[in-house]
Symmetry: C2
């Protein structure tokens, strides 16, 4: 079972963005962002790319699977 590591929280902090704001920008729920930040599951490619676009970084900069 590979674990997902993400830098979403760091990029949010860097830009003073709340979970709620990010969620609205990409059209998902706040809880979904929270779960994702805490590695609860493997998101869809669309959602991952939408978030990467918000922070203007490549998907691989934001997400990494370990193991």
């Amino acid at each position: 079972m590979p674990k997902l590591i993400t830098k979403i929280k760091e990029y949010r902090a860097k830009t003073n963005m709340k979970q709620e704001e990010l969620a609205q920008l990409i059209g998902v729920r706040r809880e979904t962002i929270g779960h994702l930040e805490n590695g609860k599951y493997n998101p869809s490619l669309k959602m991952a790319m939408d978030i990467a676009k918000v922070f203007m970084v490549p998907v691989e900069e934001l997400f990494q699977f370990i193991d």
Copy 2:
């Protein structure tokens, strides 16, 4: 409803790889690769990154959402 465009088939052709071979490399079914190549759905981030790794390209080079 955004449409998914992918270059998987092109990269497979470039390296003479069958759907079945790619599927086994990343641990999914042949039909799953087929459906993905034909834009049937939005894959998981893990699967997208696994495929990108096989062809040694960034995720964004392989997948693009239109609209």
